[in-house]
């Protein structure tokens, strides 16, 4: 086997050194009644080319573009990834290294993540950002646990317009803690009903997502004021990081912690993962942050360098008192996001975000003109909720036969939005594709 370099001579020479005859003698410390006597029930080894053919066939059994027009976002977005990002990210010095516990040997990863933290903080309008989390949902759950630690209160409120899967993950993380989770409904405008917050006392955090699950742009400033007036923190979530190329940043509107998904920033959808949990906060909460942080320092000659820092928050030092159990995070995905943000630049990200918005508005207006119901009146970014003439669900099935995935049916998550769907448009959708969708919807 090509991954196993030992020749028979190597094996016998090495066994000789350790004073054994057979390879199986190496397992003398394993008692007989702990040994597995059988053979693993697995397929026999495949050659590289047979494997490539086999997996290649599986990869063909997927409904993807260009064969399909996919107007589906809901937390996983189709953005163009520059060839430079994939190419640079594939450099094996980045790919095959590990957590930089020995910083002198891993300055590439460390400077790269320091830059990622910086660009992320700038994107979100915050002061510090962590090195990465698993995904937007776990970042949100960790942000809320962080708010509980900071405020020493045991109750958090989540907007119902937060991605339903994110709320499920938060529920999973909170289930064994005894902390209370409340849900805040949304209004006919598609925005969170912030007035409800006035009835609730002693919240650790108020969590809203903007743009929210329906694509609607929340009033974060109002949310921050409401949260702060009751002594709670505002945790601002997001699933579409590109939006902040155009929208006001959560930090500039008063968010205390920002947590969300960075998949849009140069990371393939890859059937949902790996993606990128982004988490940022005000500097005053820095020591309560979960996960890895890279900091700047100097070497013995006074030269700039980077290290993992504030490790006393972390599990390998603090064990059960750590701010999180996280160890491996999604470092390579964070590096991809940094490469993508660097490729776009400040000028580029604004243009691209505006283009995304223009395209989504084009489809929204065309559908409205064609007689479709646009469910919410609030301004949206990239996504919007729609009903089709003659019913969304029936039309959705018919469009699948025509190789169009017309968004995400919402009934399973929001019974009150049954027969509605969440449509998504990004810069990769052409006007022709959108026109075709409109024609098919009204055909």
């Amino acid at each position: 086997m090509r991954y196993l370099p030992h020749t028979d001579d190597d094996i016998s020479a090495m066994l000789g050194v350790v004073g054994l005859k057979e390879l199986d003698d190496l397992f003398a410390a394993v008692p007989g009644n702990c040994r597995f006597g059988g053979a693993l029930q697995l397929p026999e080894a495949m050659s590289e080319w047979a494997l490539e053919e086999h997996v290649g066939r599986l990869a063909c059994r997927m409904g993807v573009s260009p064969e399909y027009s996919v107007f589906l976002g809901a937390g996983s977005y189709d953005h163009y990834i520059p060839a430079t990002v994939s190419h640079l990210l594939g450099r094996s010095e980045f790919v095959t290294s590990y957590t930089p516990y020995q910083p002198e040997m891993l300055q590439g990863t460390l400077q790269g993540i320091y830059e990622y933290q910086t660009l992320t903080a700038r994107l979100l309008g915050m002061e510090v950002a962590t090195a990465s989390h698993y995904d937007g949902a776990t970042a949100l759950a960790e942000a809320l646990l962080m708010a509980v630690r900071i405020t020493k209160r045991k109750k958090v409120a989540l907007s119902r317009a937060i991605h339903p899967h994110y709320r499920q993950v938060v529920r999973t993380y909170f289930a064994p803690t005894g902390y209370e989770l409340l849900e805040i409904p949304y209004l006919e405008t598609g925005l969170t009903d912030l007035a409800r917050l006035e009835e609730i006392r002693d919240l650790a955090a108020v969590a809203v997502q903007s743009p929210n699950f329906f694509g609607c742009i929340e009033n974060l400033q109002a949310a921050a004021e409401k949260a702060h007036s009751g002594g709670a923190l505002l945790v601002s979530g997001f699933t579409e990081a590109l939006a902040f190329g155009l929208l006001k940043s959560p930090g500039s509107q008063g968010a205390d912690i920002v947590a969300g998904e960075g998949q849009s920033l140069g990371i393939p959808r890859s059937f949902g993962g790996p993606a990128l949990g982004m988490l940022a906060s005000r500097k005053q909460h820095m020591r309560s942050l979960p996960g890895r942080l890279v900091g700047q320092t100097k070497d013995r000659d006074g030269k700039r360098g980077f290290v993992l820092t504030l490790a006393t928050r972390e599990q390998h030092i603090r064990r059960e008192k750590a701010t999180s159990n996280i160890c491996s995070n999604n470092s390579l995905c964070a590096l991809a996001a940094a490469m993508y943000m660097a490729s776009l630049g400040g000028t580029g990200i604004r243009q691209l975000a505006a283009l995304n918005h223009d395209k989504a508005e084009y489809l929204k207006n065309a559908l409205r003109d064609a007689g479709c119901a646009i469910r919410f009146s609030s301004p949206t970014f990239n996504e919007f909720v729609v009903g089709f003439p003659g019913g969304y669900d029936a039309r959705y099935r018919r469009l699948l036969d025509r190789k169009i995935v017309a968004g995400l049916p919402l009934g399973a998550h929001y019974p009150e939005l049954a027969d509605h769907g969440l449509l998504c448009v990004t810069e990769t959708c052409s006007r022709e594709e959108m026109d075709r969708l409109v024609r098919e919807v009204t055909a």
């Binding site: 803690t177 750590a322 630049g345």
Partner: protein, 485 residues
Amino acid sequence: MSESIGTTGLILNEPLLWERGKKGRCGFSMPAGDVPPSPLPAGLTGDGPDFPDLSEIEVVRHYTRLSTWNFGVDTGLYPLGSCTMKYNPKINEKLASLRGFAVAHPLLPSEFSQGALRLMFDLERFLVAITGLDAVTLQPAAGAQGELTGMLIVHAYHRNRGRQRTKILIPDTAHGTNPASAALCGYAPVPMPSGPDGILLPKVVAGLMDGETAGIMITNPNTLGLFEANILEIARIVHDRGGLVYGDGANMNAVLGVVRPGEIGVDILHLNLHKTFSTPHGGGGPGAGPVAVRKDLARFLPVPRVIERNGTYELSEDFPESVGRVMAFHGHFGVLVRAYAYILSMGPDGLKQVSRLAVLNANYLREKLKDVLHPAFDRPCMHECVFSDRNQQGTGITTLEMAKRLMDYGYHPPTIYFPLVVHGAIMIEPTETETKEDLDGFIEAFRSVVREASENLGVVREAPVRCKVKRLDETAAARNPCLAG
């Protein structure tokens, strides 16, 4: 000694991203708009982030130079104990980036995701075969999230039986993630000393395991590189008193095809696909931490789960007792593809040979170093060997300094100061993919470092001198944190 592979070459400086570039440049192929502009109301828009504007070649040079300051498995021997830094096959990278997978949306209707679902279903079956357990979730994103998922299952199990428990037994050799994961579920970790031979004694477990204790978290082989030979007896004690046995599979690379955890009393086990199953570590992830469980615990696994019906696959959330969702979608699918490809490349015999050779390499290193470094335990090891700094005490040299000096010889240092129970621990895990010649080079380098410690202390204390930077001041970094530029 023969010529060291560590040497100096031309190392280029490279500024921070925002110290480069000029306003107006762009490294992105911006498409022309084919729709009319539709500005948002002014009150909603901001100034946009203050990013530097760079051209394509500036981005390429920046990251290419950064990469040359990094050391990976593809560069050389990376014997970081407990991390299983084995070779990461290149075909797996190619397969994970196949267009059908790379652009697949996670919420497509099942009939349009058959390839991915079939792969996940089969990978679950492979992991069932390897662990000897009955059901698997692939959703957890990394080992620590696998542990959390396992602890959530323990929590759900006890709640389901009508009485929650408050504590969990964790050996003093455990990874820090174990107590941290248990604490997230409200369990107070009870530290358990290992016996004089470095393994757990049943009587210690019997003395601590009571009706308030939810179970035990046990890593086998443990972080001293020793097989917990009393595992069957320990599991019996824990089960008799109503607890569950959680297996931390971080060290599974030692026992593939040799031991199946499900057959030695383990009820729940996580695997690290980025360790045992060759997926790259990525400078700190993404990994994947699937969890395998006994049949009667399968109902608690996270949703959605992949099910098969008449040859077609679908995702089902219809498991009312599930602990819920632990990730937004289906876990790190791209990592799963790589592990699936690895298992198919190795086959059953190949996987067993992996563990034999991993254990051979570790014992060979141990034998060749044991006259200069003090083995923590005087007995053969499994996939990693652990030394203490006893031989170096009085010489003025520390474990940290030896580790730094190894860099100058061209090797990534081993894990140091872990496990905590060994003074000045040096934990070496070579993995099976290293050649005898590379091991010999590492052995020679380490012996040379030990010799330098008595002959030329200054050169060791100065190390490293061949990296991009010299010894970095970690204390200053923590005292005055500068986390963004």
